[in-house]
Amino acid sequence: MTDMTVRIGGLTLASPVMPASGTFAEGLARVMDLDRLGALVTKTITRELRDGNPLPRVAEVPGGMLNAIGIPSKGVPCFLRDSLPFYQRWRPPLVVSISAPTAEGFAALAAEISVPGVTAIEANISCPNIEEDGKAFAMQAGSAAAVMRRLRAATSLPLWAKLTPNTGDMAAVALACEDEGADALVVANTILAMSIDLQTFKPRLGNIMGGLSGPAVKPIVLRQVYQCARAVRIPVIGCGGISTALDAAEYMLAGATAVQVGTATFLQPEAMTQVIDGLAQFCAARGIGHVAELTGALKREDTHEADLAWAAPAP
């Protein structure tokens, strides 16, 4: 039997598979066994009450979807009163995703939710930074560092930084987060994209632009996980277009210690348990005793040889 445990900073997770923020909520407990997950990750919460974006909030594109949900939030008291006790009923550690328009706001929110029952905090720094003209914190190393520094001072819980794939500076942002005390990186949030309805000539999202997720983003985010994992020593959690165990294995080979599954859950609510079972089989079939051995196991020796292979298809 494959040992499926992985270590993320100080935590040991029973499995390297967990939900991506915003694609997991109470309702999933009706269709799958949450106890099988490596962790539970909440939808991003904010301190203030928020309505979210205008409709339509989702659109389909080939191999994926766009969303501009925004962060509808009922605020912290409501989270502590309703959601926290609900998630306590399951064994996997609870990771709370948070967001705020300022570094100070992040810190205050982190402090407020550093309560028993919360195991780690995922800082969704892919959201607009009102101090930087609405540019997401994770777009630049400097702003990412500023928010992580405040966060680190505000809580002793493990801190995960969720990066945006929209920056040209992935590795630099990753390093900045590590330097400021992040215990892990989640790579990555959705890729900013757009789609237009050719009947109406209108954008297909009320917000005009939105985030692309699903299989279409996998090759891009996989590259970013590879870049980040080579840049930092803290664990990287891969997230982008994972639907199957093979996708998860690819991320782990590229350097991910664990993975998050998002959009795939909308298509197949049992996607995460299927990834867990499939990963165990993938390892077993290759005599890999511990799933963690996959992490960074990409072979980088010269690939010139593959060339010759074509000359002799039937050797």
Binding site: G27, M65, I69, T119, T265
Partner: protein, 284 residues
Amino acid sequence: MRDEAGPQPSMGLRGHSAFQPSAVAEKALIISHEAVNGEYRHMRLACNAVAAGAAPGQFFQLLCPAPPGEAPFLRRPMSVYGADPATGTVEFLYKVTGAGTRGLAMLGVGDQLDILGPLGQGFTLDPAWRHIVAVGRGAGLATLAPLARAARAQGIGVTAILSARRPELVVSEAQFRAQGAEVLAVTESDGTSSPAYVERQLRALTAAGRCDAFFTCGSARLLRLQQDLAREFGLPGQVALEQQMACGLGICFCCVRDFQVEGRTLHKRVCWDGPVFDLLEAVA
């Protein structure tokens, strides 16, 4: 602390085997699939007990196969048109409108369709009611149809006002009649579907004591009409709403709509808080 202690696989496994889902994604077998008229198709599937136990007003999320050159990515919400735990079947009545429903239409008897459900909050019937009125239009008629049987099972009479563009497009009339409901089909081509005409019918039913509650789906205009009458006569009612859905499980918040609750406008998720809502809360 729980988390510091590390995972305890044996308990995880215990949870695993003991887990009982209340909605299931299943590859169900199509046992019949026919065109009802030029627009609607009726599909019946053999399914598991959880799915076959679906209540009127609940819905399923269907993973539609890709028609040539198109690729519906998300699941498609579809109301339960019928569900029978005795035969282990579930039924849908749908209109072909885009990529997903075009994909559905390609399926034949013996093919499989991945259905996820039952989902959402269905209609509720108050045993104290003696007679209810169901007013539907278009695909809304599919949503209302299973009400007739549920009402009859509780000894509640039903009058159904079925609205369509043309008489041949009125669907589920037979299903209502089979359950002993009175049926009034109103159509554009007959000139009977105007709000004024429907309003006269509804007032007459109310006056005759044959309307303890309104049930409606499929038309914003007819919804507003019934809201007005419900307020005027102090009657309760329920409306089944539609909205684009990504997850169908209350996760993604893409399906929110505005509702008026105690004087405040707030968002509710159609897939989770509904699709059936209090008639007066809906903002039409």
